[in-house]
């Protein structure tokens, strides 16, 4: 590449629990080319400037969900955010908002994983079927009803975007509720009633106030705001009719 070398300043919010009382910004000057992502900038820092900077990454193609971080205050995947967009002013990189910082750019994922495990994120079949009977039939249109919500890569950008989650960590949160909805509207699944116990609760759909920022930042177009808010009507109806019909007016 014949470019004269351009240098960009990357400020990284550091936090080493064994030596830092609280997070502190550290600045690095990184030579870059136009095709380099923020992730590659961080890798340069770790390889040649400061081996102690810790961050998660793997696939480099926005499908594994590891590399979410705040870039100039916005939740993004560092592998598909490009340094050229922040030149010449430089950029600030911090761990995802609304989550505890474990180390540098690595947040605690325990709450997310625990919540994921709590929503019964698996098919509870509507009707039984043996393997010999082959696959359940599902038309392309039935598949369209849930496919979007099944595209979540668990990157947690939506949690960094959601102020309700930041204010109230008990809230199940956008991504997990979208996953729950994915199963609820899968034509093969019959577990809505079980999942609605969580969904219709305060920590479920009602923890959401339709800020909508989650859907803005989602790199995969999952639209968790939609997944959550389309259930509030049913939840409200259920609230009023549960004394009339046995088990409530669930889908």
């Amino acid at each position: 590449m014949a470019d004269t070398e351009k240098i960009i300043e990357i400020q990284v919010l550091r936090y080493r629990p064994e030596q830092d009382k609280e997070p502190v910004l550290q600045s690095y000057k990184v030579p870059f080319t136009d095709d380099m992502s923020v992730l590659q900038g961080l890798q340069y820092i770790k390889d040649f400037l400061d081996g102690t900077v810790s961050f998660r990454w793997s696939c480099r193609m926005a499908i594994c969900g590891s590399c979410g971080m705040m870039i100039d205050g916005k939740p993004k995947l560092s592998c598909k955010t490009f340094l050229r967009e922040y030149y010449p002013q430089g950029l600030k990189v911090e761990a995802l908002a609304h989550l505890p910082i474990e180390r540098d750019l690595m947040v605690s994922v325990e709450d997310f994983v625990t919540k994921l495990e709590s929503i019964k994120p698996y098919i509870i079949p509507k009707e039984p079927r043996t393997l010999e009977q082959g696959e359940y039939l599902q038309t392309p249109q039935q598949r369209d009803m849930y496919e979007q919500f099944s595209s979540c890569i668990n990157c947690m950008l939506c949690y960094a975007a959601c102020p309700q989650y930041g204010l109230n960590p008990k809230f199940t949160g956008p991504g997990i509720l979208a996953l729950m909805h994915r199963y609820n509207v899968d034509s093969r699944d019959g577990g809505q009633a079980e999942r609605n116990e969580l969904g219709y609760a305060d920590e479920g759909y009602w923890g959401c106030t339709a800020v909508g920022y989650c859907s803005e930042v989602c790199p995969k177009g999952v639209d968790p705001a939609n997944a959550i808010n389309q259930n509030k009507m049913n939840s409200a109806i259920n609230y009023f009719t549960r004394f009339i019909t046995p088990g409530g007016a669930d889908k």
């Binding site: 810790s54 926005a62 496919e147 668990n154 093969r188």
Partner: protein, 598 residues
Amino acid sequence: MEVFKADVAIVGAGGGGLRAAIAVAESDPTLKIALISKVLPMRSHTVAAEGGAAAVTRPEDSLEHHFNDTVGGGDWLCEQDVVEYFVAHAHEEMVQMEHWGCPWSRKEDGHANTRAFGGMKIERTWFAADKTGFHMLHTLFQTSIKYPSIKRFDEYFCCDLMVEDGRCQGVLAIEIATGEFTLIEAKAVIIATGGAGRVFRENTNGGIVTGDGMALAYRHGVPLRDMEFVQYHPTCMPRTGLLFTEACRGEGGLLLNKDGYRYLQDYGLGPPEDKPRNKFMELGPRDRLSQAFWHEQQKGRTIKGPFGSVVNLDLRHLGEAYLRERLPQIYELAEEFMGIDPAHECIPVVPGVHYTMGGILADGKTASSLPGLYSVGECSSVGIHGANRLGSNSLTELIVFGKVAGLEAVKFAKSVAISNPGAIRKQAEAAQARALGLVNNPGGTERMAVLRTEMAQSMEDGCGIYRLGTTMQATCNKIDELRQRYKNLKLEDKSKVYNTEWLLGIELGYLLEVAQSMVYSAINRKESRGSHQRLDGFEERDDANYLKHSLAYYAGDGAPRIEYGDVKITKSQPGKRAYGAAGVQADEERKKKGAANG
């Protein structure tokens, strides 16, 4: 240190590891399973697989076709009895995945759809848009949550196997969050840690694909089989190496050189037709396509791009609507990473390292030569890929053999008890000291990134698509040298909490040893077969001398010892490996011969 007692330990929670864990849990819910992964399960590299998973489905298809495609695709280096098992159990595993919720793409009538893939005679690749690995991994992970007997150790880094009384009896793992060690005793251990593509410079792999499990088994005397066979995927993004799935070609994508010419017809893959035709042209096997690129490059017919030579992947004729529906992920990749709209422009592509055909020697039941140790997936050489893997066989491999590994591990675990926990404890402490020695190395001078870059460049030079004895020797020397220099590794990070530099240092050790097994296996194979092609007097396939598996044995500090093992041939005698019109002719001849002998 913490001690956890499990019945079965599984290292790696990708498609293979998760399927094995589910198989154990379903087989016997009372058995304790430790599922250990250095990343959260949904980050495993299975997630990046795009194209699909093969299984005989259409009425015009047959197990014999899939068998022949696979064995021929592997240039007859496959264990044919294992391939027979594989093709026979593929379909039921696809259905099982579907029952667990996998969002397979459908035909209008509601049945699962199948598409064409390279080297496959009939369409048999099940797919979930162009994110099949993603959907399979998430389905398996989410399904695994149903089973309380699976205890996950997320972000635990496995740094050694515990081998006592001639058996594998557990693993030692580092809890990445704290830097503390946990000994996991287990009566059976399954390794499912994936491939080792990161030894090369340009590759489709994620950062975690560093050959961990291969190196661990290797160090304990288990041979690594067929390590010289490394797959170059023909259509990767220049410089980053990110994958453009074979499904692009299955849906009708064309490969064009600088003259807009479909050059594959010059390499025994023609004649070209308007519609994609199985095993012709762009639907030939990956090794042939990558090799064709190399030849075009020699002839000066590739296009000069900012990152080197490329060819064009032309998807324009498919139209935006079709592309967005069938290939949404690669559409986004082209747009976001390259600023290219595939509906209106060609995508520049280049071959990149994608898959490691070789791995831990495993028999048809995934058992290794070390009792109690099993392996599944890309880290394993169970014998179905031979010298070249067909696309969409590896996702199927994960679930067919994931189940086998799980069930075999159950049988073994029930038949033994942990012997000598005291000795195992001592081993664990020694392994802990070795791992910590890396951080506390006082005389460190070598920068990790320098060693890694030199290794990756050298492997690309010596173990490329075409190989020469001279460059392979240079790579052998370089890797030997790097292994010595590794002893002087300098690490800056001395902390315990999430010290990722330390773990990268351990991974570099794994990479160097696996790289060494690859290049020494390569230089000793004096023939050309599948993805191992030489230009130094050994251009032909030599069945007389080399219809054998390479076996690399760890030799401590020195170069690995390379031995050879037999190939199991049952139904398919080695024949001409032909595609395109020549392939059709070879099939006819084989049929006639079969009828004559019949």
